[in-house]
């Protein structure tokens, strides 16, 4: 059925072109039926893209190797889940996923808001359609997923390291994030184009932005976890351009999420918010471009592909047009209020914006520097890990501290006395923690110590906020402490959900600091069966080497007995898998997690000699599991913040009623 798939994509292209043209005309001329028709075209585009996607999934599941795409990314013996995940494993399929999610989100966002923000929606439709046109064009003309060939007997198979549950979830989540950021972008641009720079675009897109931001964050954590356990080089983040490609839009989106609170409450930072949302979306496109075009030297590099120049061109057009529209509407964005004091909550949010932006730009510079230096000097210079680590500390540590200080600083102007009062307890906690940590030996790494101290400061502020709020609710007449706690969160979802997310970041910071600044490494230890080695308090005794024929690979494992302080703790196996079909060898690391101490004993069997001698590389990573726990807390906090709030809904409905516009339909 590949012709059906290709035809469906052609239909999509036609529909989004229509939505673009008709939508823009309808918005400009104020034609109701034409606007409705353009909206329907966007919805129809989703359905026809869905048909194309269904064709591809069917072809994958039926092992239809007459499709080049299916043959390149699957094989007969591949388990079904991984066969389906091959949908987004290659370039053409991932573009199709982008388009599917894009049209889906567009249709939904437009439908939900068509009544109470109708004058915005008329402009949202053409903006969405413009982005969709680009992807549809690529799929039809440049990167066709439905190319056919005489069918080979079996396909090339999926890279074994991708046959892993984390790799099932990681790309779709990232794509939900990237594409999700299109929604606030489209609404922002629509607000500018229509001249409707009131709050409605913010209110309409708040949950979309949160969802996209959460998906992007979780997607990155899953990718990091996959790199940690599956690729097994001893770390979870390498500052590789493709990793940075997802981090940059996430940082910009973080700044945007916080900055819009200031616009909602004080009407300030309007121009900032426009710039941030345009930046976040452009960085999403850039991230997709980096991952898929092979332009930057990266271990994720693909062959130089044909879509690179197209992507670059589209990003240029997007940035250019958005900034032009922003400049045109600048007079509308002047805020009625201004910053009164550098010591105020507004100022704290401004610093937050600046630090996040600085970190984001630093990473961007690091990513494009090899390209620039090659263009200018003819020689591409790569900035190493130390560059990123330095700037992560310089900008990240103040950000961490700010996370604790921001919620405690008063609006408009904070007096020195009030600052002293609110910061007294957290500062004490942090100082005590710092001293205790130094006594425990954390002084061996200054950045690590500073991170821990700042983290305790922020942790203390969060705990105090929850405690104070619960006590206040109990005083208001709640039945029990638990009741007071739940009703506190229930009535202030955004604030306390936000605090939970901040707690997740604190855990993340502690985990990252512990596992990098305070890790112990035994880089290169040669052991014969029977020999032992010592690292970070553990003793490892290499017992024997085994070989076992698994489902699709020959599994070679070195078995070690683990002891600490003479007490046996169990055993560990590390080694390699040799995959016959894919002709590849993969590293299988052995990890022993100590859940009490949250640390990992991480063993890599680097080289296995035929006589049984093995070269081991061993890491002891303290607190590394806090990173994964932080991911769970992060999701919890986001869910709390995202949860529908009946009271907020009522307020918006009554406001719409007072103006005379129909209320939101959901």
């Amino acid at each position: 059925m590949p012709e059906l798939g290709h035809a469906a994509l052609l239909v999509t292209l036609g529909l989004v072109l229509y939505a673009l043209g008709a939508g823009a005309a309808a918005a400009h001329l104020g034609r109701r039926r034409l606007a409705h028709s353009a909206r329907n075209a966007l919805v129809a585009a989703f359905f026809s893209t869905l048909v194309a996607a269904a064709v591809l999934v069917t072809a994958l599941v039926r092992h239809d190797f007459s499709l080049v795409y299916v043959a390149e990314h699957t094989s007969r013996e591949l388990p079904t889940w991984y066969t389906i995940s091959a949908f987004w494993g290659g370039q053409e399929g991932s573009l199709l996923l982008w388009l599917l999610v894009l049209t889906g989100f567009g249709a939904l966002a437009v439908r939900l808001n068509r009544r109470w923000a109708g004058d915005l929606i008329v402009w949202v439709v053409p903006v969405f359609a413009a982005v969709a046109t680009f992807f549809a064009f690529l799929l039809v003309a440049v990167a066709n997923p439905f190319e056919t060939q005489p069918a080979p007997s079996d396909g090339a198979g999926l890279n074994p390291s991708l046959q892993n549950p984390y790799m099932l979830a990681h790309p779709p989540l990232l794509y939900l994030g990237y594409v999700g950021l299109t929604v606030p972008f489209a609404f922002a641009l629509a607000a500018l184009l229509s001249g409707r720079t009131d709050e409605r675009w913010l209110i309409a897109t708040r949950r979309w932005t949160l969802l996209a931001w959460t998906a992007l964050g979780v997607g990155q954590l899953l990718g990091a976890h996959w790199a940690y356990v599956e690729v097994g080089w001893g770390g979870y983040y390498a500052w590789d351009p493709v990793e940075n490609a997802a981090l940059m839009p996430w940082l910009a989106a973080t700044a945007f999420l916080h900055s819009v609170m200031i616009q909602e409450k004080r009407g300030m930072l309007r121009i900032w918010n426009m710039v941030l949302v345009i930046g976040a979306f452009s960085l999403s496109l850039f991230g997709t471009f980096l991952t898929r075009s092979g332009v930057v030297n990266s271990i994720h590099s693909f062959t130089q592909s044909s879509i690179g120049p197209w992507f670059l061109g589209f990003i240029g057009v997007t940035v250019g047009v958005s900034l032009a529209v922003l400049f045109w509407r600048l007079p509308l964005l002047r805020s009625p209020t201004r910053l009164e004091s550098p010591f105020s909550r507004e100022a704290a949010f401004l610093y937050n914006n600046l630090l996040l932006l600085a970190l984001c730009l630093t990473i961007l510079w690091g990513v494009v520097y090899p390209l620039l230096s090659e263009a200018v000097r003819g020689e591409s210079v790569v900035l190493g890990r130390s560059y990123y680590d330095f700037f992560l500390r310089i900008f990240g540590l103040p950000l961490l501290l700010l996370m604790g200080m921001g919620p405690l600083v008063a609006w408009r102007r904070a007096s020195f006395r009030s600052l002293v009062t609110t910061f007294r307890w957290p500062t004490l906690v942090a100082l005590v923690a710092g001293v205790v940590l130094i006594l425990l030996g954390s002084g061996s790494s200054i950045p690590g110590l500073v991170t821990y101290t700042f983290a305790s400061f922020v942790g203390a502020t969060i705990v105090i906020e929850f405690a104070r709020g619960t006590r206040a609710r109990k005083a208001l007449g709640a039945t029990s402490w638990l009741g007071a706690f739940t009703s506190l969160i229930g009535r202030n979802r955004r604030r306390y959900g936000g605090y939970v997310v901040h707690a997740a970041i604190v855990l993340l910071a502690i985990g990252v600091a512990g596992s990098s600044a305070f890790q112990t490494v035994a880089p290169d230890t040669k052991l014969r069966p029977g020999q032992s080695m010592r690292v970070g308090g553990y003793t490892l005794r290499y017992r024997q080497l085994t070989q076992h024929q698994g489902a699709n690979a020959l599994e070679e494992r070195a078995h070690l007995a683990v002891l600490r302080g003479g007490k046996p703790l169990g055993s560990l196996a590390a080694g390699k898998n040799a995959y016959a079909v894919e002709q590849q060898v993969s590293n299988e690391v052995g990890i022993r997690t100590d859940w009490l101490r949250l640390e990992d004993l991480f063993v890599i069997a680097d080289q296995i000699d035929p006589n049984g001698t093995v070269y081991f590389r061993v890491f002891v990573k303290p607190l590394v599991n806090l990173i994964w726990i932080a991911g769970i807390v992060f999701v919890l906090g986001s869910v709390i913040t995202l949860w529908p709030d009946a009271r907020e809904q009522r307020r918006l409905v009554s406001r719409s009623y007072e103006v005379g516009i129909p209320a939101a339909s959901s």
Binding site: Y18, F47, V51, E264, K265, A472, I661
Partner: protein, 120 residues
């Protein structure tokens, strides 16, 4: 397979065309094709409403912060004044706008202008 694909593709295209043409098919001769956007007065009212809600929310937040102890009694006394003033200004502006809108409505409909009560 190609014949089936062709038929399905044709069905898809036809369905999409119908969906796109639906607004015109349903209303071939409408009374008004105008988008019904907010006019100047409605936009002003929306802005005033947003200003009012912003001021009221700021007051509520201050109360909350004071009750939980984040803001001391002294600071509360200092801060609550300007916020109350902002809220009052916003409410007054809204009242005034409502009054003017009602008066305009009267003029348009040819009714005798009603008495305007002064607020506050």
């Amino acid at each position: 397979m190609t014949a089936a694909a062709l038929v399905l593709a044709a069905l898809l295209a036809a369905g999409c065309v119908v969906l796109v043409a639906l607004p015109f098919l349903r209303e071939p001769d409408p009374e008004s094709d105008d988008l019904g956007e907010l006019d100047e007065a409605e936009r002003q009212r929306l802005e005033l409403l947003e200003a009012r809600d912003r001021a009221l929310t700021a007051l509520k937040e201050l109360e909350f912060d004071h009750r939980t102890g984040t803001v001391s009694d002294e600071d509360y006394r200092q801060l609550v004044g300007p916020l109350r003033r902002d809220a009052a200004t916003a409410l007054q502006a809204l009242e005034r706008e409502r009054g003017e809108a009602a008066a305009d409505e009267d003029v348009r409909k040819g009714r005798p202008t009603r008495e305007r009560t002064l607020s506050g």
